[in-house]
Subunit: 332 residues, 2 copies
């Protein structure tokens, strides 16, 4: 668990894309952000107050989050100077970088001396149990996709926000590094040891009030041979009552696998439902989320209408149209 | 890769059951065993020559394999004395115990001083790649089960032996600790990090001659919520051309999960095939392996005949009837 609120470290990000993690936090949990820290050459801007470490501290920030990708997989000396100073000022550090904070001897030494924490969200910090498959109170909805990276995180964050806006009880449950940094909590499922995958998701989505929804971020795809086991562990550990199908229509093959065509939404519906019903016979598919970022406005609307008619399910691009109709489908 | 041949360490095993691992090695790879080492109170016997460390060395043994479970999860001082002496005599050590050899400071110190290796087969020793799903030359057969621990390892070991007895090219591919100790090689799949599960199985079953069979040990079950993700990674990483269905008919619920009934063989056939065809459209189910250990001779024969008629597939208990008909099904 990462302490909030955050100071977002944008470093020397050459553009907004390099600061995608910061943007995700800014978009979905603005209340967690007291400001941004930008180095001189930084070209990204989250429209947050530019603050010094001292000012962020006064404003109540507990953790400096590295919201930017590093170049060449190295934590530069220019960054280090700020990170060390942040530890000295009393901030914890949190990062989703491939190279871990805990592998940097200088950061480790200063963190020990100052009693601060280094959070590497790519690495599990918990000893997860083995799944027991026991039915838990409360409701759960999971995003499943035709492929990796089709918008499952965005869909579930938007759905969670819509549910809460309607006054429903909802918690977004992060299963990847960006989601974990956004909410300060979650399971880095791709880094969990095989035997404990499903158990980590049971742990993440414990018994709750009967009218509470856990909105679980999906990972991978049942049809993506590299990561399908992770997806099935999510389905069986998550015990979903509802599934949202996610798709990106312009993709020509499975991500990273030129030899593999995408499955149809019908394929994903049937196989996901069959597997989900092993743990929850009442599970149903409630809606479709289409990532239309590579389509024009009219084409996007036409495509969603066509899928809606074909599948008989509410179909939206949550980025363009909001997730309200998906939230309605859960409420109804 | 563990160097063979082995000296089997039976320690102070109170009975044969405690030395199950040694029995597996003895049954399936007798050519790997130069002898057994028994302490005074040992009540297990593999019908191998009782040898001293010196005699085993002279006979060519390279590795002392701990073939017995330890009591109370502790490697006792009585064992330690033998293990340290074995390292001094030039043996490597191999173990599938929960408590790792590498966590015993005295063994580590002596292994370092003597330049010997400590193999803990519960822990991966390789950096596995991420699966790429590319079609590989050669044939592969995988055991899938209605449940965990229904006889998938036994089935695949027996099938591999049958194929080789018929002069066919075959390699048993271990995916669990006992199998790894039996063959000296394999992937401890339940301990692999999620993102690399399918890749570890691609690594284990590389391109081969077109008429060579990899006989892949199965793990878990698609219908076992605790471990189904591991099973799917095996199916997608293994890219099987053929599946063998494994079942234990007297089981009343899924192992460790009193709330879960076993699926039918038809369920396992349909779901496994659907998922396998994502990576190999030519995959087919070729036979059924029934574990009839809790049935009398006549009942077992009747049950297998009934399943054979119902499923239209050769159905045997490889322990009782041999795996010849399964090997035939692959050859045909």
């Amino acid at each position: 668990m990462i302490e909030t609120p955050y100071l977002l470290f944008l470093g020397d990000a050459p553009d907004g894309l390099a600061a995608k993690v910061a943007q995700g936090i800014r978009d979905w949990r603005p209340e967690n952000c007291v400001g941004q820290y930008r180095m001189e050459s930084c070209r990204a801007d989250m429209n947050l107050p530019d603050v010094t470490l001292e000012e962020a501290k006064v404003a109540g920030a507990k953790t400096l989050v590295i919201g930017v990708a590093n170049r060449g997989g190295v934590i530069s000396q220019a960054w280090k100077k700020v990170l060390v100073q942040a530890l000295e000022e009393g901030f914890d550090l949190a990062s989703g970088l491939h190279n871990l904070l805990r592998n940097e001897p200088d950061l480790v030494a200063v963190a020990q001396a100052t009693g601060r924490s280094l959070h590497d969200v790519r690495v599990p910090e918990v000893s997860y149990p083995i799944a027991d498959g026991v039915k838990r109170a409360g409701k759960r909805v999971l995003a499943v996709g035709t492929d990796c990276s089709v918008g499952k995180m965005y869909t579930t964050l938007a759905l969670d926000a819509s549910l809460r806006a309607r006054g429903m009880k909802s918690t977004f449950r992060a299963t990847g590094q960006t989601g974990i940094l956004i909410t300060g909590d979650g399971v880095p499922l791709d880094a969990v040891v095989a035997d404990f995958m499903a158990g980590s998701i049971e742990w993440l989505t414990p018994p709750n009030e009967e009218d509470h929804w856990d909105v679980i971020e999906g990972q991978g795809s049942l049809f993506h041979p590299s990561f399908s086991g992770v997806t099935l562990a999510l389905i069986h550990g998550g015990q979903p009552d509802a599934l949202i199908l996610c798709h990106e229509p312009t993709r020509t093959h499975m991500r990273g696998l030129p030899g593999y065509a995408l499955p149809s939404l019908e394929d994903v519906r049937d196989l996901s439902l069959r597997l989900a019903q092993v743990v929850n016979p009442e599970c149903r598919v409630v809606g479709v989320s289409i990532n239309t970022q590579h389509m024009g406005e009219a084409e996007a609307a036409r495509y969603c209408a066509e899928v809606e008619a074909r599948m008989g399910l509410p179909t939206v691009d949550p980025f363009r149209h909001g997730a309200g109709r998906l939230a309605e489908a859960l409420a109804g």
